[in-house]
């Protein structure tokens, strides 16, 4: 006593790369799918859609 100092291996650096794979699904379909039929059919809504789309 006191105990002697002795070297211990350090924990190797290890990254959590998998977190980067937790990504959001593409919402293009959700945003676009409903946009197209509107543009084709309802003239009254076209300006609305463009107004909304422009803000993106």
């Amino acid at each position: 006593y006191p105990p002697k100092f002795e070297p211990v291996p350090c924990k190797p650096l290890f990254f959590d790369v998998a977190l980067n794979h937790a990504t959001f699904p593409s919402l293009d379909k959700k945003l676009g799918k409903k946009e197209n039929p509107q543009k084709a059919g309802l003239t009254g809504l076209i300006s609305n859609w463009w107004g909304w789309g422009g803000k993106k």
Partner: protein
């Protein structure tokens, strides 16, 4: 009403998309919840997917895991997300079970599996996976991946006494 609903849904999706793009996960979670709480969005897998990822990004892994396990619509779709939550909640064995239930796991699942195996001390199995991953992946995380491989090599030699070639 029928003509009104899709418009409303697109607006809700626009909102969700906007918050995701600026990485405001708190607001994005609210937006996703709004969609899920509508009649037509109740079983919307994309909104549910977004909700789960939002919670994960905010480190609410227990909540995210509970949500995924409680929603039959996404249980099979969000296997990676489920396993990752288990991994982060230190339910490492469960995470491995979840991954092993997938017949043909994709690269994301395999990368998670390599990390899970490392955590479980199964260094040889982890190394075998990484050797394949480094060949298959081409993304911006190659350096991090190499670091992890080094860690596996170090662990093999320090804890298992196995000398490996880098």
């Amino acid at each position: 009403m029928a003509a009104q609903s899709p418009t409303n849904m697109t607006v809700l999706y626009g909102e969700l998309n906007k918050f995701i793009n600026v990485s405001d996960y708190k607001q994005a979670l609210k937006a996703a919840n709004k969609i899920i709480h509508t009649k037509e969005g109740k079983e919307d897998t994309e909104a549910m997917h977004c909700k789960a990822v939002c919670m994960m990004q905010m480190s609410q892994f227990a909540e995210a895991l509970k949500f995924i396990e409680g929603a039959p619509e996404i249980k099979d779709l969000l296997v990676f997300e489920k396993a990752y939550c288990q991994y982060r909640l230190l339910q490492t064995e469960d995470a491995l079970d979840t991954i092993n239930q997938v017949k043909s796991p994709d690269l994301r699942l395999l990368e998670l599996k390599a990390q899970v195996l490392y955590k479980l001390g199964q260094y040889s199995a982890s190394l075998a996976l990484y050797k394949n991953l480094i060949k298959e992946f081409s993304d911006e995380f190659e350096e991090e991946r190499m670091t992890n491989i080094s860690a596996v090599h170090a662990a093999l030699s320090a804890f298992d006494g196995v000398k490996t070639e880098l």
